[in-house]
Amino acid sequence: MRRTRLFRLGVPLAAGALALCACGSRDKGASASGTSATTTVTIGFDAPLSKDLAAVGLGMKNAAELAVNQANKNHTVPGVTFKLAAKDDQATPTIGQQNAAAFAADDDVVGVVGAYNSSVSAAMQSTLHQAGIVQISGANTNPALTRGADYKSAPKRQFDNYFRVITTDDVQAPVAAEYFYQDLGIKKVAAVDDKKVYGAGLVKEFTEAFTALGGKVVVHQSINPDESDYASVVGTVKSSGAQGVYYGGEYPQAGALKKQLVAAGFDGPLGGGDAVKDDAVIPLAGTKAADGIYTTSDGRPVEDLASAKSFISAYKAAGYDEPYGVFGAYTYDATNALIQAVKAAADTGAPAAKELRPKVVKAMGSVTFTGATGQVGFDEYGDSVNKVISINTVKNGAWQDGIKVFTK
């Protein structure tokens, strides 16, 4: 009963939508032939632009805008003018999904840059896939987005329209293990996780890699992230004879854990993933106790990269209020990759954005150029070929980024 009613309602709706689409493209054809031979296509952009992650998101937006302005100024794609349409997802998957639907409904959108959060991208992927719109992120690090939940044992391309220019999480735990074992000379480690997908996964991969190197994970404990008293974990770690701790989890608990370890007289290092790499971890642990926190992070600090110099100077010259942050240069490269894909697709001669979409998806896989963050290119899953992990540490109450850089 309900199904038929939906169907009855759906058919005219779909017909109406089709008619509207037809109108849209006819308008475009008219204007294109009426004025000159240039088309304007829209690049959708999605990131958190308000609330606590706004600083990161605005830096990414500025970087994307910079790439678009440069492409327009240099006529990178002859006959095509780009326009950036930025949408705020508030770091919320449902809002990201709505934004994706809005992009899909906008015939001028040729591709989407974003999102910041892996969880938001996961919600956007299928909507954009159905519309045949390419999505490229400069910040998503969850391996499942490209290779599926069994990304280790049975990797499988999830969506042929999703690409990213940044390294994934599954590379970072083994790097942390290598750094602990070889550079810090630690043979016995206590592993602690917060029982979440991200944290437990990191600890599992760390344990495998560390054991393979010849080290020993002497004790494995879990904390409850809703609590802040980790005395029992600290006691177990201390009596286990571990020389260091690897923590799978996020910075609020990592800071408190490091503080309580030091308070109990444990002075070994604490390692963690990129979720621990946050300025707020230092006041949480206490300026003194924070020393000796080591984290991995995807990519390398752009300030150290010769290739990023022109990006940094152009960003500064543009006079944006917000810093470009960790993901600015990656988003700049992601936007440029999309522009390159449009260039390759437009060569075959199709001016309207809607017709360009499937061609852009196809062209993206073979895009390759030297970007601000180094080599930009994609493997068969849509992941970046540029797999770089940096080690960062807290020293004298401040982060020192990229004390060692691993290329995998």
Binding site: Q221, I223, N224, D226, S228, S232, G235, S239, P252, G255
Partner: protein, 319 residues
């Protein structure tokens, strides 16, 4: 495991337990007089810590002097904020429901608890940051190294917790047993109607009971912040639940029982996560993940054997 390790676990458990005890007193006093469970007590506790943090962050002079010197101010402000919140809650959320069925104040308490959490979540602001707190907030810290007592490490904040809990309990016992108001409180707990006939202003006594519970909870929160380095807007939920458990364990309505229940709970958690891994047969049920399981197993066993709690005697008569 060595004797030192065991002593360390006992010391950690005692400190944690006395913090639970301070919170449990608030539950037990209100229950003893009104037979209602003030489920917003965890949030009253949380507000104390945020009150202390607020003055510390916004009054520039406090950060210039050592934390030792600023601590009395922090404690006074924490107590003031919590007491104000608790008396306000009593006046507007509980007193209008005094004659209502038992469930009404319980629902009111749950609503109040969510309300207070969201107030802090949305409006608590530190200098230089936007309004609202989502993640845990750093609390001022003693920079002194932990004291080493024959191999057992005890932090300064831990010792402070023990000292303040002991002082709080002695002062409270003296107040209830020796002062006029304290005796009026005992009378109200025994029989409010008769107490009113004897000329006791029971409304005033109820407000005082809420205020005392709030004051001790505020002290507990400040010590917790000093010990663990953070306070968060939702910290009251789990800690409040533990405090309530301690109150039931000790025999709800009994003030000394609440503190004892807290200590038993703290020791149980500490030993379950630290000592059980050394017993081979139980090793797989040990570690910090299992500590709450053991704490509640103890609660259930105690309640099966002594339904009135460890020290409860006079609860059954009116409950």
């Amino acid at each position: 495991m060595t004797a030192t390790e065991l002593t360390q676990l006992l010391a950690d458990g005692l400190i944690l337990g006395s913090m639970y005890g301070l919170i449990a007193v608030g539950y037990t006093m209100v229950y003893g007089i009104l037979q209602i469970i003030n489920f917003a007590h965890g949030e009253i506790y949380m507000l104390g810590g945020f009150g202390a943090l607020f003055v510390y962050a916004w009054v520039p002079g406090l950060r210039a002097i050592p934390l030792w010197a600023a601590l009395p101010v922090l404690l006074v402000v924490a107590v003031a904020v919590s007491v104000a919140a608790a008396t306000g809650a009593e006046r507007f959320a509980y007193r209008p429901l005094r004659g209502a069925p038992r469930l009404a104040p319980l629902i009111s308490a749950i609503g109040l608890s969510l309300f207070l959490q969201q107030v802090v979540f949305n409006f608590f602001t530190l200098p230089g940051s936007s309004m609202g707190v989502t993640a845990p907030v750093p609390f001022p810290q003693f920079e002194t190294a932990p004291l080493d007592l024959a191999g057992v490490q005890v932090s300064v904040a831990g010792l402070l917790t023990l000292a303040l809990a002991a002082f709080g309990m002695v002062a409270l016992t003296w107040f209830v047993r020796r002062t006029r108001t304290g005796r009026a409180m005992q009378a109200t707990a025994q029989d409010p109607a008769t107490a009113r006939l004897m000329g006791i202003d029971t409304d005033r006594i109820i407000v005082i009971a809420f205020a005392i519970g709030a004051a001790l909870a505020a002290v507990a929160c400040v010590t917790q912040g000093l010990r663990l380095g953070t306070v968060s807007y939702n910290m009251g939920f789990i800690t409040g639940l533990k405090g309530f458990t301690a109150a039931v364990l000790g025999g709800i309505g009994n003030i000394q029982g609440a503190m004892a229940g807290g200590v038993v709970l703290g020791l149980a958690e500490s030993l379950a996560s630290g000592a059980l891994p050394h017993i081979d047969a139980l090793a797989m049920f040990s570690g910090s993940v299992w500590k709450d399981v053991w704490a509640f197993v103890i609660l259930i066993v105690v309640l099966l054997i002594r339904p009135q709690g460890l020290f409860g005697e006079r609860v059954a008569d009116r409950a």
